[in-house]
């Protein structure tokens, strides 16, 4: 049998969290990048430090994909639980490499009859021959590279590169383990260069990086001049703190880990008020705690970028699972009426661009800007174009300096202007003394409940959003623009929608797709898209159809919109969406 070319390959490595078994996936990841494949990687872990079923998923494809594929081609299962959970997901002609050191699954696992299973006691052999269970990873990689028809010396090269920083003895032991993998494969009849699969010729895709949405947004913030970040650890937003912590100081910036979310957002507010671009990040429960301050930012007119890496709610919910169920809170949360902007990246590159836009727009309109990412967008790592940092412009906004002020007769912090945005003197600026408050106030910043002034100030604040609307990111569109059936989805749904619609088009069903990146204010283009279709399916990860609710509140015709919802903590695969849409088409 001649090897199958690797054009779209899904691998899962699964075992117990914290035992290092996920290292194999980082090795396969390197291998695939060498061969010019696009990567989409995802982790599926329990909310605990060690133990619990943990899996890493990797999709390598010659076409850029925004999600994990329908079926696994290769499963490396380091224990029986992994086999039980993931075995049924291995597609026809796939291979399961099972670490049989600790016995068989207790229950019957339904595995496709065309799937080949290789039982190799990696763990036991590693302990016997190399004295450490940990070496099972390199051992397993040896078998995997044989299956992928990778020459042994290339596999060794990838391993050496990955373990470059290990002490020489540990590195040598890993190479020894890898060779044991080759030998074992040999014994099972898998000769060098004769595996089930084979990489095609490497394609050049230009300069790529591997990044997550959290990293993209954090980088965009830095590129747009962000220099003050505060956070309080919470899954799945902690990556932002981890990314910026060792980096921002190299740009003269500051990261503070606060004692709670209120402290976190109020420190960021303080820095911002003093004229430094600031950001904080959290997830649903933490954003809920920040709500009072978010309204205050809107009222007192203080810029801030707030990342919400959304996990499954309500309450503490399912911390490591993706959901899009904070939309209501982001759009409608808080007391009183205040301007706010909610943006939603669709991939890590987009997160970078939106990080830049959010930082600049916050500065320009002097108010809160959310970057809303579901856990999959926030944490899944994807190969994307190198972030185009050279094209980033840092918008100064309406900050006024002492020289400008000295030429003015008077300075009012909350001056009512045509565009709603008031000139802003930051503390330390001569001639700009001002009072900043969340109480209603007059143009000078002095507290006032005078009715006409109240209306003027409220209207001025609402006007600011209109002023910056044209700077907010436009939606992505795809499919057949003339189709009468539309599909709308944000964040993690985008990659799935694109792939599902591509497949449906091949079978003769056409859909127009619309994937908003600006959630709030709802842009006119969104309303127009929905209004001009007969039916629009709104695909979401929450139970109540929050995006649909937001769109309806902004004037999209509610009778045209139908929900396709999921809230089990699992992302859609393209086949799920194809099935859901086909089923609806058959009854429509």
């Amino acid at each position: 049998m001649s090897p199958n070319g690797v054009t779209d390959f899904n691998v899962m490595v699964a075992g117990q969290g914290g035992d290092g078994s996920l290292t194999v996936v980082t090795l396969v990841d390197r291998l695939m990048r060498r061969h010019g494949l696009h990567l989409y990687t995802s982790r599926n872990v329990a909310s605990r430090i060690k133990g619990g079923h943990a899996a890493a998923l990797l999709r390598g494809s010659d076409v850029r994909r925004g999600c994990i594929g329908d079926h696994l081609d290769l499963l490396v299962a380091f224990d029986a639980e992994a086999l039980e959970i993931a075995g049924p997901r291995v597609g026809p002609e796939g291979i399961i490499v099972f670490d049989s050191s600790h016995g068989e699954p207790r229950t019957e696992v339904a595995i496709d009859p065309t799937v080949q299973r290789l039982d190799i006691p990696f763990g036991r052999l590693s302990v016997r021959d190399l004295r450490r269970d940990l070496f099972k990873n390199s051992f397993g990689f040896g078998v995997v590279t044989r299956l992928l028809s990778v020459p042994d010396d290339e596999a060794e090269d990838v391993l050496s590169e990955r373990f470059n920083r290990l002490p020489p003895r540990a590195k040598a032991a890993n190479i020894e383990a890898l060779r044991r993998g080759f030998e074992y494969a040999e014994e099972h009849g898998i000769e060098q260069g004769q595996g089930r699969w084979r990489f095609g010729r490497a394609q050049a895709h230009g300069e790529h990086i591997l990044a997550s949405g959290n990293q993209g947004a954090a980088f965009g913030f830095l590129a747009a001049g962000g220099r003050f970040f505060t956070g309080y650890p919470i899954t799945p937003a902690t990556d932002v703190l981890d990314y910026l912590g060792p980096r921002i100081n190299k740009l003269g910036g500051v990261v503070v880990q606060a004692e709670d979310e209120m402290s976190s957002i109020n420190m960021a507010l303080g820095a911002s008020m003093a004229g430094v671009r600031a950001m904080t990040a959290s997830s649903g429960p933490g954003i809920a705690l920040m709500q009072e301050t978010i309204g205050h930012l809107g009222s007192a007119e203080i810029p801030l970028v707030i990342i919400d890496a959304m996990r499954a709610g309500p309450s503490t919910g399912m911390p490591t699972k993706p959901e899009q169920s904070d939309l209501d809170m982001l759009v409608f949360g808080g007391n009183g009426d205040f301007p706010r902007i909610v943006l939603a990246p669709t991939n890590p590159y987009d997160a970078f661009e939106i990080g830049v836009i959010a930082t600049n727009v916050a500065q320009l309109y002097q108010g809160p800007v959310f970057i809303a990412m579901d856990q999959a967008i926030a944490q899944d790592s994807v190969t994307v174009r190198r972030f185009d940092v050279d094209s980033v412009e840092v918008e100064p906004g309406k900050v006024v300096d002492a020289e400008t002020l000295s030429g003015l007769e008077e300075y009012r912090r909350y001056a009512v202007t045509a565009d709603g945005i008031s000139p802003w003197a930051t503390p330390g600026t001569k001639g700009g003394l001002s009072l900043v408050t969340g109480n209603e106030r007059d143009e000078w910043g002095l507290v006032s409940t005078e009715p006409d002034n109240r209306v003027e100030q409220m209207d001025k604040r609402e006007r600011k959003v209109k002023t910056v609307e044209s700077l907010l990111p436009a939606a992505l569109r795809g499919g057949d623009p003339d189709a009468e059936i539309g599909i709308v989805g944000i964040g993690m749904e985008v990659g799935v929608i694109i792939e599902a619609v591509e497949r449906l088009a091949k079978s003769g069903s056409s859909y127009a797709t619309f994937m908003p990146r600006t959630i709030w204010p709802v842009p006119d283009e969104t309303i127009e898209f929905i209004s001009s279709r007969r039916i629009v399916y709104v695909v979401e990860h929450n139970a109540e159809g929050q995006l649909k609710r937001v769109l309806a509140a902004a004037g999209a015709p509610p009778d045209r919109m139908h929900s396709i919802l999921r809230y089990d903590g699992v992302p859609f695969r393209p086949a799920d969406l194809v099935a859901a849409l086909s089923e609806r088409a058959s009854v429509a």
């Binding site: 740009l251 500051v254 503070v256 606060a258 209120m262 402290s263 109020n266 507010l269 969340g438």
Partner: protein, 281 residues
């Protein structure tokens, strides 16, 4: 000269202790030479939370309990500013207590003046955290001993509005401590609410001025705690400079160092490209 806001007139009742706090602050700022535009006064919620309107400086009215995080952000963002946070015991020792504990620990260079009156005056006289469960004894929260118990603390003082000269000199010492980059200057001021809880008579009788005690050593943390504890057992309240020490400030550990926080340094882009190189391999 550019015209800016006209400082407000205090909203406080005649005889309120807060007038004394404001007077001491205004004189102290003058004395240390803090220019109005290089000074920021941040205040919390309550009667005390209006002091920023009356002092000629950049002013900010924080959310309830959040004045310390906001002031910390300002102080880190612009270390050249004289940053003064202010509030009452209701604002600082109830909803804001977590932040006070952590501000002692972090030791950012800013001054925090707490006008303690054991009362929520603005909402008409409910008991506040400094009030004890038994009105006859001082069994409320004592943030002086709290501060002494936290290893990072570097300046702890208590004034009394009855003793205006001492209050002024303590305010000067606090602002100087912060402006010298020595860390968090905590100044509690006994500032009676004459409308709902006039504690002048009790505090007149209870106040014990450690500044007048030649045996008292404000550099000795354990000794300070022991004295405070002993006085409390005797239903007395220590006032004066309670403790001053040398602990590394927050800016020294977490701050921007030599580089300013504002972007645009010529090598910013090179640094950013370096980060991308790291994500490429």
């Amino acid at each position: 000269m550019t015209e800016t806001y006209t400082p407000g007139k205090p909203i406080w009742c005649a005889g309120c202790g807060h007038f004394g706090v404001q007077g001491a602050l205004v004189r102290a700022l003058e004395k240390v030479g803090a220019e109005p535009h290089e000074t920021m006064v941040l205040a919390g919620i309550g009667c005390s939370g209006t002091i920023q309107n009356n002092v000629s400086a950049y002013g900010y009215h924080a959310l309830h309990g959040r004045v310390l995080p906001a002031a910390t952000g300002v102080a880190l963002a612009n270390p050249d500013l004289t940053v003064v946070a202010a509030g009452g015991d209701g604002d600082g020792y109830a909803i804001g207590m977590g932040h006070l504990v952590h501000t002692f620990k972090r030791n950012p260079s800013l001054t925090y003046i707490v006008m303690t009156n054991e009362t929520y005056g603005l909402t008409k006289g409910q008991r506040s955290p400094a009030a004890g469960p038994d009105p006859a004894h001082n069994e409320g929260i004592d943030s002086v001993r709290l501060g002494l118990s936290i290893p990072g603390s570097s300046f702890i003082a208590r004034g009394f509005t009855r003793q205006a000269e001492q209050l002024e000199s303590l305010t000067v010492a606090a602002v100087e401590h912060a402006n010298a980059g020595r860390g968090f200057a905590f100044l509690e001021v006994l500032s009676p609410c004459v409308t709902y809880k006039d504690l002048y008579p009790q505090w007149d009788a209870a106040a014990y001025d450690v500044d007048e005690d030649p045996a008292y050593d404000p550099m000795d943390r354990a000794g300070a705690f022991a004295t405070c504890q002993r006085l409390d057992d005797e239903d007395r309240i220590p006032i004066g400079l309670i403790y001053t020490g040398n602990n590394e400030s927050m800016e020294a550990r977490w701050g921007p160092g030599d580089r300013r926080l504002n972007p645009g340094g010529p090598d910013d882009r090179d640094v950013l490209h370096g980060f991308l190189d790291g994500m490429a391999s």
